[in-house]
Amino acid sequence: MNLGVDVAGIRLKNPLIAASGTFGYGVEYEGLLDLSLLGGLVSKGLYLEPRDGCPTPRIVETPSGLLNAIGLQGVGVRTFVKDVLPRLAGYDTAVLVNVCGDTVEEYAEVTRVLDGVPGVAGLEINISCPNVKKGGMAFGGDPKMTYEVVAAVREATRLPVIPKLSPNVADITVFARAAEEAGADALSCINTLLGLAIDVETRKPRLAFGTGGLSGPAIRPIAVRMTWQAARAVRIPVIGIGGISSAADALEFLIAGARAVQVGTANFVDPGVYTRILDGLEAYLTRHALDDIGAVVATLDFPGASK
């Protein structure tokens, strides 16, 4: 039975990737789970310099969801390369780095720091964080800026470039195509949905930043729909993300057209989630007399649509 997949020239031993911002730098989970179980992991978003992130409170629960405004607190890309990457070298998993920037030039500079560094399998380009005042969603919400950021990163590296798209747009296919035209090798789909939770007693937002990004099971149907739309709009592979915590959840994305998936909020809930999903995927393939997970990808039988 083969669970392995190829995404943007990156060989993943299985289609499960730990999502950026929900898995620290990977090393936090050492001892809690075997990192070599994972197809891959994506680091917390990194700028050139360390960042404090947003004031607190930063997270609040909503029905079946998590609203966060962490604001990309991080150690900076150079510290990551020097102190963290060597600790991940011993694991048999693909390490992707989430690249952030306040400006197009900063994205390119962070990329240049990572280019050619041993142990980096690919770059996920964060043009979709809703919790920063500059960069992030501002780039992912404008197709021209999406193109510009991706093209600048493309020029700065030979590593696989994987923009992470924002769901906070009317038509995600426009952004998927812009990223593909700019030279992206794959797409991550989707980041969090912009949300607002209000404390009715104080009439203030429950998050210090004001708005936040919604994740978790609450957003899964939206994420599956957008993954399906994006996968049909481009030739490059799509990585599905949004509220995955079981094999059935992961399969929805694969059937919708994702080549691989990312597990996000579920990392906070249960470090045993990967073992559960992998067991469930194998059981599914056995039940359907399939021997390759790739046979499931883009097999949605959608009413009235040609596949």
Binding site: L32, D52, G53, T56, N267
Partner: protein, 284 residues
């Protein structure tokens, strides 16, 4: 001390002991927690596997029973997560990760441990009292709340022979007023050097930190910010901490670098720098 790696387990509820109001004691079987947890550490726990609410909740460990391989939590059912836990029946299973966080450090030899709890903040002090009692160390507890119903965990301290001074704002038990009042009265006449341990609402912690600063007392506080994961990755529970040698404070995770901190390194709300830093600057 470097904390041991926590264990992720499905834990059966062994016993459920309702207290007054929304309070309940829950005893779960978890061999690693029962064997390895230290006072001040906590678990992340959630009833069942429902997606709503999605996250586990942090609770200080009240007590351990290594023989039974169990630990007990003191829970106030106030939100969706704690209400679901409090409604569990014996035999039902919770998802539990622990033990987590840095424990309290024992006081130096010849120093008395004086614990200050605000309401719900009593939880970690039963275990600390048990640890100190086993070692024959001097220790006592000041326990404050709005009213007597907030002071639910008293008998276990009596059983350990730990002196406990209650204080309630409405005078329904012990001293009428804030817990810091009998505390200060004691500190004025304390026969031996004292180290303070505090757990409770932020305002009480800040008040204890201020009086400790005035009196030059070493103080450990257990902080309780909103926590998402318990293992340092969601970055939801960060607090401003500033060591003496740090020019500016840093956000540190209460789950992995705390929840117990030296009060002198905490940048309290409305203050520009930690006490440790201010002392360093005065020296320089």
């Amino acid at each position: 001390m470097i904390p041991r790696m926590p264990s992720n387990r499905d834990v059966p509820l062994l016993r459920r002991q309702p207290l007054e109001g929304a309070y309940v004691l829950l005893t779960f079987r978890h061999p690693e927690v029962a064997r390895e947890a230290r006072a001040g550490q906590f678990v992340m726990i959630k009833a069942g596997t429902s997606a709503d609410p999605p996250l586990r909740r942090p609770f200080s460990i009240l007590s351990l029973d290594p023989g039974e391989e169990s630990f007990t939590l003191f829970i106030k059912a106030v939100g969706t997560g704690s209400i679901a836990l409090a409604a569990m029946a014996p035999g039902e299973v919770a998802q539990c990760l622990g033990p987590l966080g840095r424990p309290f450090a024992a006081p130096p030899r010849g120093t008395e441990a004086v614990m200050v709890a605000g309401g719900y903040g009593i939880a970690p002090f039963h275990m600390l009292s048990a640890e100190l009692s086993r070692e024959g160390r001097a220790r006592q507890v000041f326990y404050g709340g709005r009213t007597v119903a907030d002071l639910q965990v008293r008998a276990p301290f009596e059983a350990l022979g730990v002196p406990l001074t209650p204080a309630t704002e409405d005078g329904t038990l012990g001293h009428r007023g804030r817990v810091t009042e009998p505390l200060e009265a004691y500190l004025d006449r304390a026969p031996a050097p004292v180290r303070l341990y505090a757990c409770g609402p932020d305002a009480m912690l800040h008040a204890v930190a201020r009086l400790a600063e005035r009196r030059g007392l070493d103080t450990q506080v257990s902080l309780d910010p909103w926590m998402g994961c318990g293992i340092g990755t969601c970055l939801g529970c960060v607090v401003w901490i500033q060591e003496a040698e740090e020019a500016r404070p840093k956000y540190r995770c209460a789950c992995t670098e705390g929840p117990v901190f030296d009060a002198a390194t905490v940048v309290w709300h409305g203050e520009p720098a930690s006490l440790a830093r201010r002392r360093q600057e005065t020296r320089a």
